[in-house]
């Protein structure tokens, strides 16, 4: 007490054991040291640990223009719009020559340039910008932006930060709360109170499920077009080989050598160099050239090229459906969809590999969707909040969701009484209580819609000159590629729609029936035919066993596993199925045969393993391709303790695998892979389809007839309701061609309640 520790500085300096000033200095020094370690050392250690590369990025298309070239380009970009405007004005001249001259004069006047120019032509001209350098050019003016939240409040945020933390960049999210995915252990993924893990997607349509995108981010694959099957394309002479681009990076805007690995961790940020690789223009430039989108290689590795030309930069503006579809038509209509514009520009070199089987088969284009035909933009329904785009509150799968609380619904525009044209509008509206809009208004998916994909037995694609996965069954028809299930907005970790029949007798059991078996004889026959075809290439295939595993995936489970599955469904998923309000929705069903790590298996499946694209496409040796892929640094890390504790234990719990993640690396010391097995996932995935909307939906008889597309019994209706719903007597009274009946002038239905 005699010497207060906070002694004034005027006294003689004496050593103190607890000098607060000194402690503050030490604390400050430690804080600075920690900050420097975090900022400087952590990224280096992290890169080394995960084996990823970061380096400054440059793009050949980023060129400086002279003022004259700039003006020439500006004129070119607006020429057709100016010509249209001038031609609309010059209507009286009969003489074509005189008319052309007048049009030429008019379209070059300042008046005719106004309003047709892209706004950034003027901005760039005035600011002296003659080269597009990437995000830094955009950020010079757009450092911050106003973001409007759902409640109408405005907030100013850093633009770069906003995009870096969006799903479009990092393609994962750890959002909790309303996220609609449930683990097979019955827990809502990343719910309040749980330890959030980053979730992206488990995508059996790609050979590289989301979590493994490192193993196939940007690849240059050797192909031998129009040649007979070869054992190893890479062994062919150079002049017979054509390089093709492949990898997840083609559709993700991070332009780096790898995905946003750093964002997977709770701390750390993407390095500045990687942020400068963001491709702003692919979403914002009307004149983006998809032919610039191919894999390039430099001294640091492979990555995806971008269009950073001034031509693209001058055409920036709000996103439009055309820019969204640059990427999204790939999974909606599919690469083989006839109106997929981006798939017509495969690259100036190293052309991107087209995938002929469509992941969803529900295109968004004026030819195939009523909304696209009406000129509706994607963002009219998916109303963005800054760079975060809502995908709706209903989600059947594990796909990341930036705005899990934000609705994207049909009712948002169409109200609860959407049918106005038909004489039967009240009856049609009545269906909405049980039937989702999509159920009638997506009558079918594209024929190229893939239902069963065999990754294990590739076949030679002669035209492309590659070994490609075998699509065992494709169809977009109801009952074949499109099935109908109760859905309340919840889904499972492996994309199974959850819901229940509100009038049901308790027999609705999709995880043991509809999505775990294929019963339609014509589908089974088609699978058998394909299996016989495959047997010609792979003599070891037992056709009967193959058909059984593909169409009855539960047959791959041991009796104990099957019993466990039954128990887990009853115990863990009934609540998530009974939640909220269920309606019948259409789903694209899908399953794939892939290699699995059987050490980590449960009643719903085992850990699926990625393929190395080069080995796969060039040699067709699928097992070897797995072996190469899992030697990737990040997969090795996954099989180590830190990753187990950080996320894999939690991941396995959601996956329905009990006992946590087992870190036994699949490749044994002798190079064999004793626990790697080829299997079909134990149930099909059910993917939501919401586009490809047709004005004329299904007719009454499509469902209300004894052989209608809805299997009422399987949907859990009691027998007397099944009989009523599939009888024809009401339907016979209703004229089928009601779409042709003009809107009624007077309300002929009773308005009294």
């Amino acid at each position: 007490m005699n010497t207060p520790t906070g002694a004034p500085a005027t006294g003689p300096a004496r050593p103190r054991r607890f000098d607060p000033g000194r402690i503050a200095v030490i604390l400050f020094a430690v804080a600075v040291l920690l900050f420097l370690l975090y900022k400087l050392v952590y990224p280096l250690v992290f890169d080394a640990y995960t084996g990823v590369t970061n380096a400054p990025l440059s793009y050949a298309s980023s060129q400086t223009l002279s003022d004259a070239e700039f003006e020439q380009l500006a004129l070119e970009l607006t020429e057709s719009a100016r010509r249209d405007k001038a031609e609309a004005a010059v209507t009286e001249d009969e003489d074509r020559f005189a008319r052309d001259l007048k049009v030429e004069i008019l379209m070059n006047t300042p008046s005719y340039m106004q309003g047709v120019e892209y706004s950034h032509i003027k901005y760039f001209r005035d600011a002296g910008i003659r080269r597009y350098e990437g995000p830094s050019t955009c950020l010079a003016c757009h450092e911050t932006m106003q973001v409007e939240h759902a409640d109408g409040s405005l907030k100013t945020v850093g633009t770069l930060d906003d995009i870096v933390n969006s799903v479009h960049f990092k393609f994962q999210s750890a959002e909790g709360g309303a996220f609609s995915t449930f683990g097979y252990d019955g827990r809502r993924v990343n719910a309040e109170g749980s330890r959030p893990i980053p979730v992206g997607k488990i995508n059996r349509a790609c050979g590289i499920p989301g979590s493994f995108s490192w193993t196939g981010w940007a690849r240059l694959v050797k192909s031998a077009p129009h040649s007979a099957a070869v054992d190893d394309v890479a062994a062919l002479p150079e002049d017979q080989v054509v390089l093709r681009s492949e990898g997840c990076g083609q559709c993700h805007i991070g332009g780096n050598y790898h995905p946003a690995t750093e964002k997977m961790m709770p701390v750390g940020d993407v390095p500045e160099t990687a942020k400068q690789g963001i491709d702003c223009l692919i979403c914002h430039a009307a004149e983006y050239d998809m032919n610039q989108r191919y894999v390039i290689e430099d001294e640091h590795g492979k990555r995806w090229n971008q269009d950073r030309s001034m031509r693209a930069a001058l055409s920036v503006g709000q996103t439009r459906k055309e820019t969204c579809l640059n990427c999204h038509q790939h999974n909606m209509g599919g690469d083989a969809y006839v109106n997929n514009v981006a798939a017509k520009s495969l690259g100036d070199k190293h052309q991107r590999i087209l995938h002929t089987g469509a992941k969803r088969g529900n295109p968004f284009s004026p030819e195939s969707d009523a909304h696209a035909a009406a000129g509706i933009q994607c963002t009219d329904c998916h109303v963005p909040q800054g760079h975060k785009i809502p995908r709706g509150t209903k989600g059947v799968d594990l796909v990341a969701n930036d705005l899990p609380d934000r609705e994207v619904t049909c009712e948002g525009c169409h109200s609860e009484a959407p049918h106005n044209a038909s004489e039967h509008r009240a009856l049609l509206n009545g269906h909405i209580a049980r039937i989702a809009c999509e159920t009638c208004h997506i009558p079918a998916l594209e024929d190229t819609n893939v239902v069963l994909r065999d990754w294990v037995h590739p076949t030679w694609d002669e035209e492309e000159g590659l070994w490609v996965f075998t699509d065992v069954y494709r169809s977009g028809k109801p009952g074949e590629g499109l099935i109908y299930l109760w859905f309340n907005g919840n889904g499972t970790f492996l994309a199974n729609a959850l819901g229940d029949n509100p009038e049901g007798d308790g027999s609705y059991d999709p995880l043991m029936h509809q999505i775990a078996e294929i019963t339609e004889p014509e589908v089974i026959a088609a699978v058998r035919a394909k299996a016989e075809e495959l047997q010609a290439i792979y003599p070891s295939i037992d056709v009967d066993a193959y058909v059984k595993a593909a169409t009855q995936p539960l047959s791959q489970l041991s009796p104990e596993m099957l019993a466990k599955r039954r128990e887990m469904i009853d115990k863990n998923l009934k609540q998530a199925m009974a939640d909220g309000e269920s309606k019948i929705y259409p789903f694209k069903r899908f399953n794939a045969m892939m290699y699995e790590d059987m050490v980590n298996q449960g009643p719903f499946g085992a850990m699926i393993l990625p393929f190395d694209y080069n080995v796969y496409y060039q040699t067709g040796d699928s097992l070897q391709s797995v072996k190469v892929a899992i030697q990737d640094e990040i997969v090795k890390r996954m099989y180590q303790e830190p990753f187990k504790l950080y996320m894999m234990d939690e991941f396995m719990a959601y996956f329905g695998v009990e006992g946590g993640w087992k870190t036994q690396y699949p490749i044994a010391a002798d190079g064999s892979m004793p626990d790697v097995e080829a299997n079909w996932m134990r149930q099909m995935g059910t993917l939501m389809v919401n586009h490809g909307i047709q004005r004329q939906g299904h007719t009454c008889k499509d469902c209300h007839s004894p052989d209608g597309i809805l299997d009422y019994a399987a949907l859990g209706y009691p027998p007397e309701r099944v009989e009523e719903l599939s009888s024809m007597d009401i339907v016979d009274e209703v004229q089928e061609d009601f779409a042709d009946i003009p809107p009624a002038d007077t309300p002929e239905l009773s308005a009294n309640r």
Binding site: A417, N429, A433, R753
Partner: protein, 350 residues
């Protein structure tokens, strides 16, 4: 609340002369109306829409009307919760769905569909329009007055009130939205609130009838109610019709159907915020009864008027006020005792 059930049981009986319930000081213009009204309605019951509680069972005792006749055929479609269409004239959504559960609990529960909707519905699509159908509550209830097995309450008194209401006088048929009983009362779910419904719920249910149409009032400063302090708090505590029906000629158990427009409505705060306020008598006759039951007559007598004009009738404020008074008395007493003791000690020390 016990006052409510009595008139109900009389609802179906012959019109009561009602000598004891003669209106206090009726104005000239309304005197006749009230006289007729009271003769006809015979004090039908209180709260939502003032309807009988029990209707004598229909011929084949007790069965739901939805299982009689062709009703099951109708319900094959009309059970659908979302069965509705948008009227091409009014652009409003017209609900055609019948909530089975609500119907079976409604006063009309034993009527088969065809008993009201007699023609034009045998085939789908129905060709009968609502205009053709011409269903009215008053007419039907009138028609069945003499029936032995059905005794619906006579609605003629309400009808006379209604004919003088702003709804009837200002309804514009050319707008397509003709006003009728059905505008407020859904015959497929109609039933009076049970006797033991707490007053706040009575108020909420009653006001919802109005607010369903008067959606413009769902605003921070509701139109026409600018003069009213804290309108939402008022709406939670009193019924719209407490102000929007004539002050004169009220009967405690028969809410008037003569709804008044803004100009004629009561805007005098003191009508409520005073001892024995006239406007609230109808509503608060129930509340007082309820409070007496809960707190005993003495507590009611002490608290009932212990509030300040312009404030709410919140019991909390009553208690706080009482506590303040009590504390003050205690303080004065303690001070007095202190002074006395000090004085005594001083005297003793001398």
């Amino acid at each position: 609340m016990n006052g409510m059930s009595n008139p109900l049981s009389r609802a179906g009986g012959p019109p009561a002369p009602n000598a004891g319930a003669s209106p206090p000081t009726p104005t000239k213009s309304l005197a006749l109306v009230h006289l007729v009204l009271l003769l006809f309605i015979g004090l039908p019951g209180a709260v939502v829409g003032a309807q009988p509680q029990q209707v004598a069972p229909h011929g084949d005792a007790g069965g739901s009307g939805l299982t009689k006749g062709d009703s099951a055929e109708c319900m094959r479609c009309h059970w659908m919760e979302t069965m509705a269409y948008r009227d091409s004239e009014t652009r409003q959504i017209v609900d055609l769905s019948i909530d089975r559960d609500a119907y079976e609990h409604s006063v009309h529960h034993d009527l088969a569909c065809s008993e009201c909707h007699a023609r034009g519905y045998r085939h789908y699509p129905h060709r009968t329009s609502s205009a053709d159908e011409g269903l009215t509550c008053v007419g039907c209830h009138e028609e069945h007055q003499g029936d032995a097995d059905v005794s619906p309450p006579d609605l003629a008194g309400f009808d006379i009130q209604y004919q003088h209401s702003v709804h009837a006088l200002e309804a514009k048929p050319e707008s397509g939205a003709a006003f009728s009983c059905f505008s407020c009362h859904n015959p497929h779910s109609f039933r009076p609130l049970p006797d033991d419904t707490p007053v706040p719920e009575v108020v909420a249910a009653n006001n919802q009838l109005c607010l369903d149409c008067h959606t413009e009032l769902d605003a921070p400063v509701p139109k026409g109610h600018e003069w009213l302090p804290r309108p939402r708090q008022h709406w939670g505590a009193v019924r719209c019709l407490d102000c929007h029906t004539p002050l004169e000629g009220r009967h405690l158990y028969a809410p008037s159907h003569q709804l008044l427009g803004a100009a004629e409505s009561n805007q005098n705060c003191v009508e409520c915020h005073s001892q024995g306020g006239e406007l609230l008598s109808q509503l608060y006759v129930h509340r007082a009864g309820e409070e007496r039951e809960q707190q005993g007559f003495l507590a009611h007598a002490v608290y009932n008027d212990a509030y300040i004009i312009g404030m709410s009738r919140s019991p909390t404020i009553d208690r706080i006020g009482l506590a303040v008074v009590g504390l003050m008395i205690l303080g004065v007493a303690a001070h007095g005792v202190g002074r006395y003791l000090a004085h005594k000690r001083k005297r003793a020390s001398q």
